[in-house]
Point group: C2
Chain length 392, copies 2
Amino acid sequence: MKTIEQNFAVPFRYGVYFTEGLFQPENSMLTDVLAQDNASSTRKVLFVIDSGVAEANPALLGQLNTYTAAHADVLHQVAEPIILPGGEVSKNEPEHLQTILNGINAFGVCRHSYLIAIGGGAILDLAGFAAAIAHRGIRLVRVPTTVLSQNDSGVGVKNSVNAFGKKNFLGTFAPPFAVINDSNFLLTLEDRDWRSGISEAVKVALIKDETFYQSIKADAQRLAQRDMAAMQKLIHRCAELHVEHIGGLDPFEMGSSRPLDFGHWAAHKLEQLTKYSLRHGEAVAIGIALDVTYSWLKGMITEQEYNEVIALLQELGFDLFVPELVQQEANGELSVIRGLTEFREHLGGKLTIMLLAQIGLGVEVHHMDQELLYQAIHLLQKKQQPHTLPQV
Amino acid sequence: MKTIEQNFAVPFRYGVYFTEGLFQPENSMLTDVLAQDNASSTRKVLFVIDSGVAEANPALLGQLNTYTAAHADVLHQVAEPIILPGGEVSKNEPEHLQTILNGINAFGVCRHSYLIAIGGGAILDLAGFAAAIAHRGIRLVRVPTTVLSQNDSGVGVKNSVNAFGKKNFLGTFAPPFAVINDSNFLLTLEDRDWRSGISEAVKVALIKDETFYQSIKADAQRLAQRDMAAMQKLIHRCAELHVEHIGGLDPFEMGSSRPLDFGHWAAHKLEQLTKYSLRHGEAVAIGIALDVTYSWLKGMITEQEYNEVIALLQELGFDLFVPELVQQEANGELSVIRGLTEFREHLGGKLTIMLLAQIGLGVEVHHMDQELLYQAIHLLQKKQQPHTLPQV
């Protein structure tokens, strides 16, 4: 009997919006965004909030109540916000996922209702996964509160939790209804979290946009000193480059190529080896340094380019070595190099690693030379700055 | 700062193939289908099999070994098949989902590897959900083995498990890599499973295709007597209508409309009320009878049309009444009518119910009259055939 061919395309559309003071009653951004659904009645909303954000912004819960009361014609909270610990470790805990699903069930959050997640990348990943699988997908508005989530993970189409000790083992591709970046949340960040996400901007600049790279270099001191205007500019361009890339050839990553994961094969493994005490962005800075060093040793970029990138990462305040880089397996192999295999398994298909052809231009390879990798790691070890050593 | 607009479409494509004896070594359908991925090496495959299918086809596991050995250049099994109980109740058990995820993790099944699920709709839903969330999606080949899964659920883009006592509470939209219908599996079905899926064909014919309805009517006796040629014809056309509809306006059901769920608001609730002792297709037959009766009472179709549809369902062998249709809540309300609210909550948005304007043409309404619903239920109760009563 004749084969039946299925063939369709699913359109997705969302905005990444920028504001300050999103939940001040006179700020109409959220209500304008929700009104795009043309619903005829007030919308059910359930907030999921990163406990770190709630603690750093003790007025937030009260603001949400005032805000939703002032806009009751547009939205109402179906229940008190769900507050969960942030950070990558919270993605290891199945009960956090269950807590969100319980709320969705208990309070009748449907496919036309909204989960609004406020927090760093981990909470957005976790809440996004819950939203993606409940009723086969309820609407998600992401309000990223860290540099990393505002310029990278929060603006994309992925969600996840960890399982079997593996980062992002479970997840889906599920575009959000909207992403709203409120730069006021950046004011209360710890220095580590302020800095951490800058590495993703360096990453995308290095592989795609030399002009952006030069602008980060010019702003490096201001960024390190928490200049908000410089940071807003960096976040906007970084988010834009990520959004452009994702909307390009392969949004749901059906192929083997994943250029935005430059520096990430080692980063993911280092996060796991450090039991997530290393922030994702900190691990990415080390991963970039490693792959830039490798690119130089392989003769792909000049020594000057290599030195310049390393110097920029250091000027931004990143440490480019952790002892876990030289941790060994029982057989003497460096543990971090296991990350190459895990990276390939997670993506599937052929090993595909992004390296640098020049500043502003990435190039993909399908093999990494283990001997050169060892050399690159030892160069990073030798280069480690005195200030990164423990004080005695 | 300027809003960044994301806007893309994700293309999906898969075939629904028909064969007999899929795992006979000389049958090249599966290897031809897998070869569409243009992989340069042999593919990792993990089979998930419905225990009912394994029991009814005791040679199957041996056939799979012979088959994969004969085609080792195209595919190899990463482990022994995972065998899980089928039927809707297995979607209630989180450990079955975990068993599949464990296998995917333990045996390195990646985004370019294949889960091949062989079984009825429940196993396909369950294995499909595991495949959709592991590594954000590994490839799924569905081999549906029941009439229902071959002509409806197995050819679509959804997967699910049950949670909080609610059918399909968790799931995603995730198109399969391919669907392969092997009619030999129908030979070993119990009569209930042979019959059950016919209701989905009646459903889609009633709302979309009068010619198909007349063909089912002409074949009713042959279908009831397990004529394979008549069944193959029915399955092909029913699958085709489902595939066409899904590939149409709203494959991932972002709107409120769900025309293929004609008769399903009551069916889902009856499955739950009967603790899934009623097969999905049996419940759908009752749901269709209820909504056809309601359509007549509401003056939307003629008495003749109403009588004709009821007679066809009975001729096919369906019982059109179960005691749970008149089960009451503590407040005296009929429990089945709670299904209307749950249906709306699951879909989200406005209540949207498909009814009949004529045979072959559905029409959507946004309200159901409770008094007429009571009348419709009592008419079904009165119409119940003597043969459906327990023998004493």
